[in-house]
Symmetry: C2
Subunit: 182 residues, 2 copies
């Protein structure tokens, strides 16, 4: 059975579909986004709202970037930081902090009208001193995963694959969907 | 007629009541807070939701602190910054920026089931190098309004009165409530 995925970003649909063994259909609906730093707090409300609109099982995804020195900020609020100061600004705001570690996390929420489940994939890394690289989108130019000398924006698709936190979350979703107990 | 004010903060009720010529009754209800930097985007949804719960004319207030160097951040997201890094952290994040100007803004939303109106009071100032003073709450120790050498947290109630952006918004609300055309 095909799964609906509520997102405005076709790249995310491709990435999730590549990890599942069933079709994924993009739906662009406008979802409420409550204020929270923890992406798990945001995702449940969005997923339930999406189900209320499409009336069938639906996926919603949200990604967060948590700076350790800032106790989790920007977290799920990352897009507002990017809108406000951009990647260069984020590097500058962090420049007086020694600890540049960050956790990138993707949550995929799944709601079928009865059960809400959230699948999380996360990758540790650090924030670079300045943006580097032209590939990808969002904060890819400033996040360098642990074990790599390159930022996401400097990596080819093959180089980035082992660090893909969206794929990690999607693989858990696949296991759940194929579980015989479900 | 008494007005309901949906807020968890009794100090805000006192401040608004002092500017109006009618009783203001606090109601503590849990309101949805959508993600936005501009406080005006947050307030309408909250006010309409509050009316849906209390079924009578209701006020909702939200305050934002916008740093010029950050293009409006933290704005309405200020409470997440305070939770994450506190006032000292905000000063530190801004320490590599020369422009320390900030705009403090209070919006009071009013909805009576027909019309939604928002009243705004704002005060210009700057963010101090470090928190100063023990009075007030929230970001009061780091905001020094233009025309004063003191932060809000260093001022007596009398000293702070001319810079009270909540009062400025409440006075506009009073004018509206007493308007014969209403």
């Amino acid at each position: 059975m095909a799964l609906l995925f509520a997102t405005g970003n076709p790249h995310k649909v491709e990435q999730v579909a590549a990890s599942l063994d069933r079709p994924v259909i993009q739906t662009t609906i406008d979802l409420p986004e409550i204020q929270a730093v923890d992406v798990r707090d945001v995702i449940e409300e969005k997923t339930r709202a999406a189900f209320g609109m499409v009336k069938q099982p639906v996926l919603v995804e949200d990604t967060s970037l948590a700076f350790h020195a800032w106790n989790g900020l920007p977290g799920a609020l990352i897009k507002w930081f990017l809108d406000g100061v951009g990647n260069e600004g984020l590097c500058k705001m962090l420049s007086t902090y020694e600890d540049r570690r960050a956790t990138a996390e993707t949550c995929i929420g799944c709601f079928d009208g009865r059960a809400f489940i959230v699948f999380t994939g996360s990758v540790e890394g650090q924030i670079t001193m300045h943006p580097r690289g032209e590939r990808g989108f969002g904060w890819d130019p400033i996040f360098q995963p642990s074990g790599s000398e390159k930022t996401f924006a400097e990596m080819s698709a093959e180089e980035a694959a082992p660090f893909n936190m969206r794929k990690l979350a999607a693989l858990q979703l696949k296991t759940y969907l194929n579980s015989p107990d479900r």
